[in-house]
Symmetry: C2
Subunit: 208 residues, 2 copies
């Protein structure tokens, strides 16, 4: 047998203690700090708070929406799969429309990526929803366009698209416009795990 810690609760406890000891969390509202700690836990990088920008009410607004039954809308199947269902306060729907049969044709017709085209199917669901875009910058840009077109605003937007083309720019644009309470990780970093961590932390205050 190899010598390693095998107690899940104790692993969580020590992990969160390490994060709180090492990460620069001063100045974050307590509820945003809780979300930031969970996002750091998901990516292993304590310097994450330096790239965070957010509305002060994003966690409260997102949680209130989930408590009221709002759906979680996301751009990536990995995010939809990663949200811990038992943390959701009202057995909320978690919806990723990327694999919908209509999306390839929507992408062609709108001359956009499939990730962006999938948001055409969000129009009815978007007002008051909790949105997590953790993969495709084009999906975040398209969300901003839909809100420009007059679609009702979501209750919270978690913006962590990742990568080298448009990711940083889409998050700057979300923070600049702030069409709804939002939280972004600026720069190229991001991804499904961070988005899932944010949703899981917004869903319930419990850390375990």
């Amino acid at each position: 047998m190899i010598d390693y810690l095998r107690d899940g609760s104790e692993i969580y406890r020590r992990s969160f203690a390490t994060i709180r000891a090492e990460a620069e969390l001063d100045g974050l509202p307590p509820d945003v700090e809780r979300v930031a700690v969970r996002m750091i836990h998901a990516c292993g990088m304590v310097d994450l708070p330096g790239d965070l920008e957010y509305s002060a009410d994003v966690v409260a607004s997102g949680h209130r929406a989930l408590a009221g039954g709002a759906p979680v809308l996301t751009d990536a199947k990995m995010i939809a799969g990663g949200v811990t269902r038992k943390r959701l306060p009202t057995d909320n729907e978690v919806l990723c429309t990327l694999a919908d049969a209509s999306v390839p044709e929507l992408a062609e017709r709108t001359a956009n990526t499939r990730s962006a085209a999938a948001l055409e199917l969000w129009r009815e669901r978007l007002p008051g929803a909790v949105v997590a875009i953790g993969n495709a910058p084009t999906a975040l840009f398209r969300l901003l366009e839909l809100l420009d077109e007059g679609v009702g605003a979501p209750a919270a937007i978690i913006g962590t698209p990742v990568g080298f083309v448009g990711a940083a720019e889409s998050k700057v644009e979300l923070a600049r416009r702030a069409p709804a309470p939002y939280l972004v990780v600026h720069g190229r970093r991001g991804g499904s795990a961070m988005a899932v961590a944010a949703i899981n932390a917004i869903a319930t205050e419990a850390e375990l």
Copy 2:
């Protein structure tokens, strides 16, 4: 309309070109370089290669196994969900046993985490399989113990567990023992997206 690139293929092309221009890829075997580029693409961090350690034959061995019909075994549902099925050469099974009904009791009986206990259900499948552990350090430690106990070795082990308790240590131990061709991201970084990117790159040489 916002001005952003909407052509998925062109986004991929520019992303990979940026990664190849910025990342330090010298010295990587060509097939490992291809995997590294895809992993960087998934996390947005061009400094990743500095933390890579690998067997020279890990990509060839993993690909050969998949071409021969081997399953992908993984510790996290997000990884199982993220593997692009159409990249798999033989419609390979992708298996995560974490949600199996027997796992909570196995965890109690073996005094380990559920992530580690879920590997008890891998024993028959493990020889010749492609393993991706991208979440739980305890799962990677438990894999090493199973191989110690004489369970047949997999064809490739992708080790990217993430976090603050045991993650770095489990990956050092995998690289030190090298019980099968392996690839790890040393340190605290890792996660599902990197593991998925590695499997998707091993599955087929095509970048798009």
